[in-house]
Symmetry: C2
């Protein structure tokens, strides 16, 4: 267990992802749809963090990518996480904590200005 792995595991959002990819491999899109309250881009960034920490395996097939939690990389942390999730109060705690620890910008209302890329209409 490295420092990067420990800090990756500490994030509630990444824990949710690890839990979804715990038993079977799942695609990035499936994770996105299961989470529901976050954009695809955000999910992809978190998956990148987990992969760089060595906590998930990736397998590309066609245009999908399958992710799976590397439980062997978690060592004793695997059962620690499972115990947290198995706790009957876990869902309630999680809900309460998400309410308090919401991160990032609020959803935008105004459509932002066009941001041209790679040789715009200049």
């Amino acid at each position: 267990m490295t420092a990067a792995q420990l800090s990756a595991i500490a994030s509630p959002r990444r824990q949710e992802i690890l839990r979804l990819a715990w038993a079977n491999e799942v695609t990035a899109g499936e994770i996105h749809r299961a989470l529901g309250d976050v954009t695809f881009g955000a999910v992809s960034l978190q998956l990148g963090t987990l992969q760089r920490a060595g906590l998930v395996d990736t397998r590309a097939q066609g245009r999908m990518r399958y992710y799976k939690t590397r439980r062997e990389a978690l060592g004793p942390m695997a059962s620690v996480l499972r115990q947290m999730w198995d706790d009957a109060l876990w869902r309630l705690k999680l809900a309460a904590e998400l309410e308090q620890t919401r991160r990032g910008p609020k959803p935008r209302r105004k459509p932002p200005r066009k941001r041209p890329r790679k040789g715009g209409e200049q």
Copy 2:
């Protein structure tokens, strides 16, 4: 192990404090002097976080406060942390990571304006 405890443990600075208070109880001042690169105020705030997470015991004696890591609260995390610290590469890794993950404001140069409190010279 709760979510708050896991996130408390993930911080390198708080890990350093847990390590200093691992075997014997130490005062806040001793921790401050051992760390060396941080103010007393910052140390005190981190100690408060650790205490609220239930990861340290506190004992007041005179004007000092003694802190001690609650290893029984760490469960399997205790050996995880010890293994990280026992790793021969730990110090090098930590130094390299601190270089990259330095947090908070840079030390100030200009003396800030007087900030009167509780009935200033108005």
